[in-house]
Symmetry: C2
Subunit: 353 residues, 2 copies
């Protein structure tokens, strides 16, 4: 059954349709666009010609003359992170139900990749931009975008576009206070390697703030080699030391569920009982967080609402239905207490020097 791909012929244009139906290009255009005031007979004969030729609209040409497109560019840090994947899916769904296509650009949280990605998107004249995360301080991105098109930040924030997000700072503070209320005093923050995105910054801020309010010291950890070592205050340390060494941490607030699950896995492999020996709280409420074997305590974001609101905001800006200053939608987060957090171990302070 393996037939050779046939040579591809140029697709038919409205001109071909016009000739075949004996009408003019503009009339054909009128029926394609469902313009009013076309003789039903004419419409039918044109449609017959369209069917016969297998004509399919060339959106590129339309876009050139109309000077607008119906595709939105979505900048995402890491599609392999289930949270972003879920968000991407929702966004694609809502966009497509509103007549918009989506072009993704996965940045790996690398500013250069991000910048060329944005440049490409703009060169393609996407109608709007959506950031699901952004790298660096966004000054570069801002410069490239240069106010050329509407942009909305979902799940992250900046002052040069509309924002649809949860208050990361407050949510992180709530997560941290949850741990503090359970009696934990040495609470670490686990996040991505050196590079830090906006949400990360805010969450670390909320964490540090809550600790400061309680008179506690922060300990910010960033993965060095994923399941083995982290860098703490500039020095590389085995995760095991952090979790089991002298002055060990009894609780962890992870910047997202993926990190939380990694920490959980480290704890398992180190023979630590969670939550008895170690409490872990994540962020995002990824689908897998709720299975019995994981049961991750986490901060849930209303993913679908975030996506819908973001798409609506962006499409309204695109259509000019929304004008004026940037708006910030702040949605509610929920702390979902499952099986990875519990009272701090009582021998907690004995081990600390």
């Amino acid at each position: 059954m393996t037939l050779p791909p046939s040579p591809r012929h140029k697709p038919p244009t409205i001109h071909d349709v016009a000739r075949l139906s004996g009408k003019s290009k503009s009339t054909v255009s009128n029926v394609i666009r469902n313009a009013p005031g076309v003789n039903p007979q004419t419409r039918e004969s044109v449609q017959a010609a369209i069917a016969e030729l297998g004509y399919q609209l060339n959106i590129v040409a339309r876009q050139l003359v109309q000077q607008r497109s119906a595709v939105i560019g979505v900048v995402v840090g890491d599609l392999a992170n289930p949270f972003y994947a879920e968000m991407a899916k929702f966004i694609e769904n809502f966009a497509s139900s509103r007549g918009f296509q989506v072009m993704f650009c996965n940045t790996q949280v690398d500013e250069d990749v991000e910048l060329t990605g944005i440049r490409n998107l703009i060169e393609h004249r996407v109608a709007g931009l959506m950031f699901l995360a952004y790298a660096g301080d966004a000054a570069g991105a801002r410069h490239v975008v240069a106010d050329r098109l509407p942009v909305v930040f979902v799940t992250c924030a900046a002052d040069w576009g509309d924002v649809v997000a949860v208050d990361d700072f407050a949510a992180a503070a709530a997560a941290t206070r949850h741990l503090i209320a359970l009696g934990h005093r040495r609470i670490a923050y686990f996040a991505d390697s050196v590079r830090e995105e906006k949400a990360d910054t805010d969450r670390r801020g909320g964490y540090a703030g809550a600790l400061a309010d309680a008179g506690l010291e922060p300990l910010v950890l960033r993965w060095h080699r994923k399941p083995h070592t982290v860098v703490a205050e500039g020095v590389i340390v085995p995760v095991e030391t952090i979790l089991t060494g002298v002055g060990r941490v009894t609780a962890v607030f992870a910047a997202n569920d993926l990190h939380a699950i990694d920490v959980l896995d480290c704890a398992d492999r180190a023979g630590l009982r969670v939550p008895h020996d170690l409490s872990i709280i994540g962020f995002d409420d990824v689908a897998l967080a709720r299975i019995a074997r994981i049961g991750l305590t986490t901060i849930a974001q209303p993913k679908e609402m975030l996506a819908e609101l973001a798409v609506d905001t962006l499409t309204q800006r695109i259509k000019g239905e929304l004008q004026g200053g940037f708006i910030r939608h702040s949605l509610d987060f929920t702390l979902i207490s499952r099986a990875t957090t519990a009272k701090a171990p009582i021998d907690d302070d004995r081990h600390s020097a």
Copy 2:
């Protein structure tokens, strides 16, 4: 800091650049395209003008005249499935490193959604199509595509495009034989609800084949309400009955890791010990399959290689570097034995009537 978005002015064109630099449009075009034979002085002054105006190429216009684009359309069944998300990420990466943008279309394994998605992609004149999964018998899709552009199937197969995939049938048979070799005789197949995609069909085929070879009866289960009920031979049954009732199943082959993890979760909640009471094998080797708490035995696909080969095949077809009959790349799969499979319980046959 919330400044109102400024009114968006039309972006500068090569015409503006030409005027500012005192050169002609074609010269400007020449420097943009890095055409040879441009006076260095000229080039510089043009570039100065470009910088001053903040000119950015309009790819839409270029695409219209060149009659080709550098975006490939990717049709994916469910972005929220980590396997597809990982694949999507790899594909995006390889494509972008080869100068191609990617437009995704998430179909929810719904044929209508898929069809309009493909239609949109074609109207946007994507240079090629990539299917990460497709719904239905693909006759509809084939008709819409109508040989207009190159298409490659990754991770699934069809006879009207190039194929880059693992042999799903053989892999499923291997997975099933693994279970049979462990002494299991009542082995169920778990898959998506009513709708079935290509990979699903093949895997079920391999499963049924291996069982038949061993003189065993297949039991095909499709989720009805996700974590609670399945439909077996047309009737709705609680999962718990399948796993713990009379004549219960002692092993499960899941069409993908997501289903496998769901089954694992059901088993956990039903108080079953895995793998002591129930063996489970999945398919895909999703990132989470390898954490200690899951330790899922599964069939691994070489994701990155699949993605790279698929992108290369497609881009070569697009550039005409690859001609002639469709090729089928069949990559090797690996059975990774972890902690969810073990010998069948000895009391196995006593319960069966």
